[in-house]
């Protein structure tokens, strides 16, 4: 298939960017979207031009490195699919494809389609963990976890940290990413001791970088792992409770 690409090119965070057009000819429809970009880059290098930079690594939809806006949709139009898993058979011969980086003030462009997502690391550093040092932990079966809770925690923990939720949000809000990590940890018995402090710390760190949630619901649609928006409601509830909860009494029933 032959395609026309309209790709955002930008040399660096402080440099101006612009769209440039490229012809992608003779693309096999069994190729993945990123393999299509590989082929275009191969041609650019041969022609003595600078190839298009984009983040990618595992190409199995799990590392969360890749992610671009494809015709205005994060990771393209196929639901529950990361950019690397999107295949060219989902496009038609002669299509014109617009490719842009994630856009949010909290995630500035590094180069071309690559953005700086280190704000997500800062949110995890604020409290996205259970404080246990190595060693000295009890036998794993001494902490029974109801299957439903383990499954719900796993659903939330499936987040790959790609930031599509932020890129698609009209407010550039980081709620779905943050709520997914909070739900993973706060739903488990192991996560209870730090539940409320964790919630406050992560929510407030998130707000340093990203906008506010106004319930558009775009994030859930964009998420390549179909993380549920109900995690955000759960986070909001815990945040409100955390503001009033007397943590000295958490152990009482």
């Amino acid at each position: 298939m032959d395609l026309t690409l309209k790709v955002w090119r930008q040399d660096g965070p402080d440099k101006p960017g612009e769209f440039k057009e490229y012809a992608a000819k003779g693309i096999n429809e069994e190729a993945s979207f990123l393999e299509m970009l590989d082929m275009v880059n191969e041609q650019l290098v041969k022609a003595g031009e600078i190839p298009i930079e984009f983040d990618h690594d595992c190409r199995e939809g799990i590392c969360g490195s890749c992610g671009v806006m494809i015709n205005g949709h994060p990771h393209g139009n196929q639901k529950g699919t990361a950019t690397c898993q999107l295949h060219m058979r989902k496009f038609n011969d002669g299509d014109r494809i617009v490719i842009e980086p994630w856009r949010a003030t909290g995630m500035p462009v590094v180069r071309d389609l690559i953005v700086d997502r280190s704000a997500l690391d800062r949110i995890i550093e604020a409290g996205g963990y259970i404080s246990v040092d190595t060693g000295g932990t009890p036998d794993a079966n001494l902490i029974p976890v109801p299957k439903e809770a383990a499954d719900a925690a796993m659903d939330a923990a499936a987040c790959i940290g790609c930031a599509a939720c932020i890129a698609t949000c009209p407010n550039s809000a980081g709620q779905l990413f943050t709520a997914a990590k909070l739900a993973h940890l706060n739903l488990l018995p192991q996560g209870q001791p730090e539940r409320y402090d964790r919630t406050i710390a992560m929510v407030e760190k998130m707000e340093e970088f990203f906008g506010s949630c106004t319930n558009h619901g775009e994030c859930e649609q964009a998420c390549p792992k179909s993380i549920s928006i109900s995690n955000i409601a759960y986070m909001n509830r815990d945040y409100v409770v955390a503001k009033f909860k007397d943590r000295r009494k958490v152990g009482q029933t």
Partner: protein, 639 residues
């Protein structure tokens, strides 16, 4: 040739690790903050080591070339992690896990290391559960287990088909906690390009900031490499695109021995290659072999659709040849069996390059819901790539390069042959012999990082108490920086006609063809003739666009591919000199009448540790003899 000293402690195997921990010197808590430790890589091994060392009070600096530590390729591991908990009440024990791992490795690993691995495996599960890793549970709230290849017990813990992801996130979160506390300093998008040595020991590293191109030096009392394996030497593998050998190879060039480079694992269940444009291969977890049945048509060139082939015309060849292990035969055995089927023209799919992995029986027996709960994400991944629905038609799978058992030679303390330089996880060679069993890589990465290195590194550090790390303006660092810069400048200045990928693909073809599933003297000699010529052409005709002071993926890639040429050559040399078949190393000259691997325990029961002697010079071949006191050497049988 010398005999590298593995420093295995004396005494009965079950007491070695305990005794060694007592005999090793300790660093007192107040002194720990006087030490600087550099960790390269943030996969399971690197993240767990950095977090644990930070918790202990050391000053740790971590480098990752990813944008976040969480992206490391450990994240892609699917099926599970082994431990000898015996929760399934099916006869498991530390000794059985040790025994299975030594046997699975075809008796080419160091017994003492493997025993220690089995011993600390249970602690890993406890640690991860406490961290909140959402392992699969039974309805009573306790942990669930499943089976993996090469074992007759259910000892594998898992988190759906995303076990690696969840274990890595656990280690990453522990690391993030230390970053927040200030005990670990994190550099992302920064690639290590050289190990710096002085007076024969490791004193630091030279790194490049991938965003700005800036080269800088960092010094420390010890350097830990947790930089993974080198399957990408084959170009197409299940490894992530950026996974590379550069850190390990740079260390090798600074004196660290490289052990058993020809021990590479070809994983039997990957999605078959479908075209020239393909950039990587995708694994379908071995756990699928718990419920899937592998088969090919009984007759050659059968063109019927799989669901049109009746039961009597199907050959469930693993169940037929290996009745006691069946579809759960170890990876090397299953891969070679698939290769033989395809050689007999019984392969399936448009390119006749696959075998079926069929879930119809399991779906009939257990229902679609159960299969979906167990493997839903894997089935979805398969559908995205192939556009076929594995609930309806059997999956097509084929062997693909996946893991490298070879790596930097380390002693019992995980120290390389360069004092102060450690290698952990897949980057070292130590625990899997000639073949790794499924669900053992996650176990080893976390064992090294959480429970082994934090103990063994102290014994070395005590010698350097109150000695400041070498200043980075020292000549050793300056010289290393200059070499790094001149190499990058050279790559940029060639300005030839071929792309980096075209060279990498050509090298990969040679490697998979001559040093892949089956190896012959003739083929290896041919590869040893072709690789140096290709390397020469690379340095004369590669085209690397752009400059080195910006984000430049092609430049980073070129520097990695340049190292693959040297590694590829050593792999072939190692394969040529290992005159036997064992595990993933199958020399066609050494096989039984039934086509199984034939080891030579008389002459080949050793670790080959190769020493670099300079560019264009022949490596020195050192041998560490392997002795088996607890697991009797036997012809491996899974029948």
């Amino acid at each position: 040739m010398t005999t590298p000293d593995a420093k295995v402690p004396a005494g009965p195997i079950e007491e070695k690790w305990t005794a060694h921990r007592f005999d090793s010197k300790l660093v007192n808590p107040a002194n720990k903050r006087k030490y600087e430790i550099i960790v390269i890589g943030t996969g399971l091994a690197g993240a767990s080591a950095a977090a644990s060392l930070g918790e202990l009070g050391y000053n740790v600096t971590v480098f990752t070339y990813h944008d976040s530590p969480r992206r490391a390729h450990s994240i892609a591991a699917q099926g599970g992690i082994n431990a000898a908990k015996n929760y399934a009440n099916d006869g498991d024990s530390v000794f059985r896990l040790f025994y299975d791992t030594v046997k699975g490795g075809d008796y080419r690993s160091r017994e003492a290391n493997v025993y220690r691995l089995a011993e600390v495996a249970n602690e890993i599960i406890d640690q991860c559960a406490a961290q909140g890793v959402p392992f699969a549970r039974e309805y009573g709230g306790l942990l669930d287990n499943r089976s993996f290849g090469g074992a007759q017990v259910s000892r594998t813990f898992y988190a759906r088909g995303q076990t690696g992801q969840q274990l890595l996130l656990g280690a990453y979160q522990a690391l993030a906690r230390q970053v927040a506390l200030g005990s670990v300093k994190l550099y992302n998008r920064t690639e290590m390009l050289d190990v710096v040595t002085h007076d024969g020991r490791a004193v630091g590293v030279v790194v490049r900031d991938l965003v700005t191109g800036e080269i800088s030096s960092h010094s420390a009392h010890a350097v830990v490499l947790a930089t993974g394996g080198y399957s990408n030497v084959f170009y197409l593998s299940t490894n992530a695109m950026a996974s590379n050998v550069t850190a390990a190879w740079r260390a090798h060039r600074k004196g660290a021995f490289f052990a058993n480079p020809c021990f590479t694992q070809i994983h039997p269940t990957c999605i078959p290659v479908h075209g020239d444009f393909q950039s990587k291969l995708t694994l379908m977890s071995e756990s699928l072999r718990n419920d899937g049945r592998i088969w090919v048509p009984k007759v050659a060139d059968d063109t019927r659709a799989p669901n049109d082939i009746p039961e009597e015309d199907r050959d469930y060849y693993l169940e037929r040849i290996y009745p006691s292990f069946g579809n759960l035969a170890p990876r090397d055995i299953a891969s070679r069996a698939a290769m033989r089927m395809i050689e007999e023209n019984r392969g399936v799919g448009p390119l006749k390059n696959g075998v079926y992995l069929d879930f119809a029986d399991a779906i009939n027996r257990l229902g679609k819901d159960v299969i979906e709960a167990r493997y839903g994400n894997l089935f979805e991944m398969y559908e995205r790539i192939t556009d076929e629905d594995p609930y309806e038609v059997p999956m097509r799978i084929y062997p693909a390069p996946h893991y490298t058992m070879g790596g930097l030679w380390v002693d019992y303390n995980l120290m390389t042959s360069v004092p102060g330089l450690y290698a952990i996880g897949e980057a070292n060679f130590s625990d899997h012999g000639a073949n790794r069993l499924g669900a053992s890589a996650l176990m080893q990465g976390l064992a090294d990082g959480y429970f082994v290195l934090p103990y063994t590194i102290a014994d070395y550090l005590t010698d350097w108490l109150n000695v400041a790390p070498l200043a980075t303006d020292h000549e050793a660092f300056q010289q290393s920086e200059a070499e790094v810069v001149s190499r990058l400048e050279k790559l940029l200045s060639v300005n030839g006609t071929r792309t980096v990928d075209s060279f990498h693909k050509e090298l990969g073809h040679i490697m998979i063809d001559k040093c892949g599933l089956a190896r012959s003297k003739e083929g290896l000699e041919e590869a040893l003739d072709r690789i140096p010529k290709l390397r020469k052409e690379f340095w004369a005709n590669v085209r690397v666009p752009g400059t080195y002071d910006t984000y430049n993926t092609e430049l980073a890639k070129a520097a990695r591919v340049a190292d693959y040429f040297e590694l590829g050559e050593l792999m072939c040399r190692d394969a040529l000199e290992r005159e036997e078949s064992c595990g993933g190393h199958f020399r066609v000259e050494h096989q039984t009448d039934e086509g199984e691997a034939r080891r030579d325990d008389e002459d080949q029961a050793h670790v080959s540790a190769w020493e670099w002697n300079g560019s264009g010079k022949t490596h020195t071949h050192h041998k560490e003899p392997l002795t088996f006191e607890y697991v009797a050497l036997a012809q491996r049988s899974y029948k």
